[in-house]
């Protein structure tokens, strides 16, 4: 951190140095743990408890293999959750991601069936959902309808389009995409044999964190979600910002579509089923605000981890998968209520 920078000389008012120390001394000395925000850390604490409790129930639970499974199951949802986080922070949301993921896979799947080259199929499979995101952004930027309605409409539209394109039957051979995302990374440093799908997810996680914290566009997203009028009166191009953010979401949806289609070697209209609501749920569980201005990649990924861990642990604890849904439903409600009381 550089302290050599000076304030803008063009604006210097007659300085009264007596007040110069006001901003300093904010960090409490010693007792660093007091500055920890216990509320925003609660998913980690709950996860630790779940892991300890479940490890008594099954010997196969606390294994590298199992946690690799969790990671590979959570990775595609994680990519969308990052996009959803960006939109939620900006006061928007995208309910069309589920069928947009399917759309991405179908575009690529049909092209591969057609024996188009893999690179072209992937390019189109990412470009198509990005265009969808762009259109979502274009419509949301008009401010005439809430993004909820716009993206819900888009979702229905895409469902129709997806079934029309596939005739309802899935494409079952993703060829090169399957060989890419179906397996594991090389073992040993630096990949440790992790599932391949973890790689794009971790990259997106880091990029989202950097994007929201260190880029002007990310900052504008917070401003928009925190007070759209203030953003406008601060000279922020509100419409353009929204179009960018929804397009980024489209891009991430495309990536998810590729990863997911490769992972299970299938392209179908219900490939991304429920990803819309699940991604919103994960972000909100982690502490990203549903109505904008607050949240981030680190918070949302905690929500994702908890979500994935609960799904996995319930099975290992010997309950039927029906209990998964019940537990997840309860967690969503409790998470939001806890985060409300924290503010």
């Amino acid at each position: 951190m550089s302290n050599t920078l000076q304030g803008p000389s063009t604006n210097s008012l007659p300085v009264t140095p007596s007040n110069a120390g006001v901003a300093e001394g904010a960090m409490p000395r010693g007792r660093w743990w007091k500055s920890l925000d216990i509320y925003s850390m609660w998913p980690i604490i709950v996860m630790a408890a779940i892991i300890i409790a479940t490890s008594f129930k099954s010997a196969r639970y606390l294994t590298v293999q199992n946690f690799e499974n969790i990671l590979s199951q959570a990775a595609p949802l994680g990519i969308v959750t990052m996009g959803q986080t960006v939109l939620l922070v900006s006061g928007g949301l995208d309910l069309s991601v589920g069928y947009n993921i399917s759309f991405a896979s179908i575009v690529t799947g049909l092209m591969l069936e057609h024996n188009d080259p893999l690179w072209l199929a992937i390019l189109c499979g990412i470009a198509a959902p990005t265009v969808v995101g762009f259109v979502n952004g274009l419509l949301a930027a008009q401010g005439r309808a809430h993004p909820f309605i716009i993206t819900l409409g888009m979702s229905l539209f895409l469902f129709g389009l997806d079934t029309q394109l596939t005739g309802g039957s899935p494409v079952n051979d993703m060829k090169g995409l399957y060989t890419t995302f179906g397996g594991n990374l090389p073992s040993g440093f630096p990949c440790f044999g992790l599932p391949t799908v973890a790689l794009p997810f971790l990259v997106v996680l880091v990029l989202t964190f950097v994007f929201l914290r260190w880029t002007p566009l990310g900052r504008r997203a917070y401003a928009l979600g925190g007070n759209e009028q203030a953003a406008h009166l601060s000279g922020i191009a509100v419409k353009r910002t929204k179009i960018y953010l929804y397009s980024i979401m489209g891009l991430l949806v495309g990536l998810t579509g590729m990863v997911l289609a490769g992972q299970i070697n299938e392209a179908s209209f219900n490939l991304g089923l429920n990803f819309d609501l699940e991604s919103i749920a994960c972000a909100v569980i982690g502490g990203t605000a549903l109505f904008g201005g607050r949240g981030g990649a680190f918070r949302s990924v905690q929500g994702l981890a908890l979500y994935a861990l609960v799904q996995n642990s319930i099975l290992f604890a010997g309950f039927s998968s029906n209990y998964q849904q019940m537990a997840l439903g309860a967690i969503i409600v409790i998470a939001v209520m806890v985060s409300r009381s924290a503010t």
């Binding site: 604006n11 008012l13 009264t16 000279g235 191009a237």
Partner: protein
Amino acid sequence: MTRSDGLSSSSELASAMTGTPEGYQSDELLRADRLNKRFPGVQALQAVSISLHRGTVHALVGQNGAGKSTLVKCISGVYVPESGHIYLEGREVRLLSPRTAFSLGITTVHQRPQLLPSLSVAENIMLGQLPVRKGRVFIDRRQINEDSRALLARLAVSIDPEEPVSRLGAAERQQVAIAKAIYRNAKLLILDEPTVCLDAGRIEQLFRLIEELRRYGMAILYVSHHLEEIFRIADQVTVLRDGRLVATASTAELTPGHVITLMAGDRGAVQSRNGKRSSSSSTQPAIELHNVSTKALHGIDLMVRTGEVVGVTGLIGAGGHSLAQVLFGLEQPQSGEVLLGGRPFRPRGPKQAIARGVFVVPEDTARSTLVPLLSLAANVTLADLAAVSHRGFLSLARERELARHFVSELAIASPSVTSPVRTLSGGNQQKVSLAKALNAKANVLILEEPTQGVDVRAKSEIHNIIRDLAGQDKAVIVISTDIRDLLEFVDRLVALRNGKIVADFSAGETSYTQVLDVTIGAQGVTVR
């Protein structure tokens, strides 16, 4: 505990109103005795006592943080004091919730009353005790409207009870809230900064209403920063400072200067910049309006030089706000021309205006220009993120550096530059907005109501900051309905009336009464 069922006698008008207006009744309605209230790190109230009488307007003054709102909240049941007693009509009461206080006849009317906008005035007044028809299913709408009309007429308020509240302005909403309080048998009415959103004409209307209530024997606690209002309508005044009671006296025994001294304590009296004007040596026009007309403005000609502070005043709706909208590109003029530094200036929005160095800090800063969840530093740099960006990435260290620079220059009181801006007080939020404008390298600043709702001390600090800006060859236009405030620091004062400039005074050569006269005028304002 008394519950709200105690309010059942519905359709008859409140006893406070039907009681014989025998004029001044000196009996005590409410007495708070040695109240103490602590918050983490601050003793908000320390042995504060106050006695409120029927038929009396009692003003409560003090700088921000003096404990006014804590005292009001203790009396209205929002906070429970740690020690001390509250007596209502001679009996001790425990006000454990706003509901309890309300049912005992203690009602607070806020700056922006909480009403239901889609319901009618009458329904809002009677809500909770709506008269029903025989079957107890349907509301007796005719009855509601008649009762409300009668009540409003008694209060000399001319509002149609069938009008939905959403169509009313701030002043009328306040009147509806007061009517509602009276309908619910209020004995003590607490008015918290009631004139903040009102222009001079509406303030008169409110004062007439308060007079009316006083004649009927209502006790009124009037919280305000405006001393001239207090000396106009209050009988008693209580001054708080740093959570302690400084004085309670009859307004007849005090002068405004005296009250300011009591409020400020050893911090010293507020400095007036009168007579210390920097006569700007520069004669260069910074911004010129030639014959500009909009819906609200008619043929405005105005020129502001660099290094000049020009105040624009007038009643709400006189055109001041529209002027700011035009200069920020939020409204396109129907005719006329704006020149900025001699070149045509027609911004299509705030972005273009800011790029040309014109920045409007709108009124109600906290809600309209700041992002409450973002840090002070992030708010300061929001209008010019390029200044803290390097190769497409934000430099947070540089951002904090810039923010600290402004924190020290504008004396912004904040625990740190990374604190969310919502944790700051109104005056400090105002300063953050100014810092944002300065950071965006604004040369022409248009400030709407910059001292609205801030305490006396922050006010004079903001005055000084604005003078300093002019000293650095910035042109400043201050649009405000507070004439006295403007007279303290502007070079010129332009008076608007019905969208036209009716006078252009040099600040040294005019007076409050003169400006008031041209804005409200001899022929008087027609009150809606």
